[in-house]
């Protein structure tokens, strides 16, 4: 009888082992895929910044062009989600939510950046879910509202970089003022969600910091251009100086810092 019982326990645990191994393997696969999504999204964000700072003699509408290339880049991530789909069916999605959440947020950040450049608005929840669905509209995964909001919250940091690094170029000052107003709106819109979405309050304070940086830069524009009656090129120089202290890749075109893409430094210089 004792031997019977032993086999029983061993058999039971053999099942558990399969179960646990399967769970761990799946989690590992999803974490890997999610990390790939994060990488793709980061690259897209850098690409968008690059296009916006590099537009030299390109006659195309830079915003449309950037958004298009960004969306193309993100298609790679969508393919990954399509592949993940069968691993996160139904309740399984919530079981592995923590594994996929960081990638999702980064993806939303990249997507919303591209969307903002083209439309000047926040990408809606439905629009994001739409990009994460197959051709017949069946979602690969149920997009959590929390991840949507947290991804959007990260967008403000990118907008700060975008506004400040673009400030010294033609139209950059108007754009910076626009971005400033937009980020301010985001900040106040998100505020009401802080009690219900954990982590959002932390991101809100980052947003506040970004907003302050933009505000200071916008202030610099206003002060400099009002005090002196200078031609725009001279104002560019002054502004570039005042914002270089932000250390955010500002004035990248002048100082050859090329923080975003060291490899492109050379072709970059040629343009200016």
């Amino acid at each position: 009888m004792d031997t019977d019982k032993t086999t029983a326990v061993v058999d039971i645990f053999d099942e558990f082992r399969k179960d646990i191994d399967e769970h761990n393997d799946r989690r590992e696969r999803l974490i890997k895929a999610s990390r790939d999504v994060t990488n793709i999204s980061k690259k897209v964000i850098f690409l968008l910044h690059r296009i916006m700072t590099e537009r030299g003699n390109d006659t195309r509408d830079p915003f449309k062009h950037a958004a298009e290339r960004g969306r193309n880049g993100l298609r790679e991530a969508q393919v990954l989600y399509a592949q993940m789909k069968h691993e996160i069916q139904g309740d399984e999605f919530w079981r592995y939510h923590r594994a996929v959440s960081p990638g999702l947020q980064e993806y939303i950040e990249a997507l919303s950046f591209a969307h903002y450049l083209e439309h000047g608005t926040l990408v809606t929840y439905a629009q994001v879910q739409d990009t994460l669905s197959d051709d017949s509209g069946v979602p690969y995964l149920p997009l959590p509202k929390e991840d949507y909001l947290l991804g959007l919250s990260d967008l403000t940091g990118e907008l700060m970089r975008f506004a400040i690094s673009g400030i010294a170029r033609k139209g950059g000052r108007t754009k910076a003022t626009e971005v400033c107003a937009f980020v301010r709106q985001c900040k106040s819109d998100f505020e009401r969600f802080t009690p219900v979405v954990r982590e959002l309050s932390k991101k809100q304070s980052v947003t506040t910091q970004s907003l302050e940086k933009i505000e200071d830069a916008v202030y610099a524009i206003v002060v400099r251009s009002s005090e002196y009656d200078l031609p725009p090129e001279a104002v560019d120089d002054i502004v570039a100086q005042s914002i270089s202290s932000f250390g955010t890749g500002s004035g990248v075109d002048r100082s050859k810092r090329g923080r975003r893409d060291p490899g492109s430094g050379d072709e970059y210089e040629g343009e200016y």
Binding site: T6, A8, F16, I20, D91, W94, H97, Y125, F193, V196
Partner: protein, 244 residues
């Protein structure tokens, strides 16, 4: 953001908060029950297996306070254990379809105590290991599967708690004059431990708790050693074999 979208989003998020609040109430209910059971089961350390032992013991105060014997104690736990199904039912009704894992963490720890109680009751009454489907049957119903189920992880956590408790019982059984119990415990726990060693555990709490099992085993071994050395318990030959 569009004000309409903003409101819609907020509404949805608040619904989630509401569900969470309601589940929390049920978890508190379940928690009450599991604490109660754990409390009753804790008295096992001063409960003789049968009344004859009470008379065997010279210890006068045990007779004086008229301790219940183990079967009585188990019977007092059973109804509480059964009533856990009510809270499970209430939770299953609250959890949206396919979102079990989303909220699961909220009641994991209470559920593990419930598993432990069920496993302890089973051990005390039959000396056997309760299977996962059997615990699941006690705590919930098959048809709630996609809303409320018992995860392997929680079952295993419950079993580790059982081993922790059994190592204490091995010591206290001797104090109560029951010299066979530690031997039984030793065999039972070793089998269980062998099962656990088959698992590839990640570096999580289950793994850490599994690592602590060796101390329980050591403790039980020492009791068995003390008993054999003094010839207080004569383990049957087959038991010795299966132990090796």
């Amino acid at each position: 953001m569009d004000p309409q979208d903003l409101d819609r989003l907020n509404e949805l998020l608040e619904q989630d908060v509401e569900i969470r609040e309601k589940i929390k109430e049920q978890v508190a209910e379940l928690d009450k029950k599991t604490r109660n059971m754990a409390g009753v089961l804790n008295r096992i350390h001063s409960t003789p297996t049968e009344s004859s032992q009470v008379t065997w013991l010279s210890c006068r105060f045990i007779r004086l306070i008229r301790l219940p014997i183990v079967p009585v104690l188990i019977d007092s736990v059973r109804p509480i254990l059964q009533s856990c199904q009510d809270t499970s039912a209430a939770m299953a009704a609250l959890i949206p379809l396919n979102q079990f894992w989303r909220f699961k963490e909220m009641w994991s720890s209470s559920l593990r105590t419930a598993v432990y109680s069920a496993a302890f009751v089973e051990y005390l009454s039959s000396g056997k290991l309760i299977s996962l489907p059997d615990v699941a049957k006690i705590l919930g119903k098959e048809e709630w599967k996609d809303r409320f189920s018992l995860a392997v992880e929680d079952y295993l956590h419950g079993l580790i708690s059982l081993v922790n408790e059994l190592s204490r019982l091995a010591v206290n059984a001797v104090t109560l004059g029951n010299f066979e119990e530690p031997i039984r415990i030793s065999i039972f726990v070793k089998e269980l431990f062998a099962g656990f060693t088959m698992l590839n555990l990640k570096n999580d709490t289950l793994r850490r708790r599994f690592d602590s099992l060796k101390y329980d085993i050591k403790k039980i071994e020492e009791v068995v050693y003390d008993l054999s050395l003094r010839k207080l318990a004569a383990p049957k030959k087959e038991q010795v074999d299966s132990k090796e």
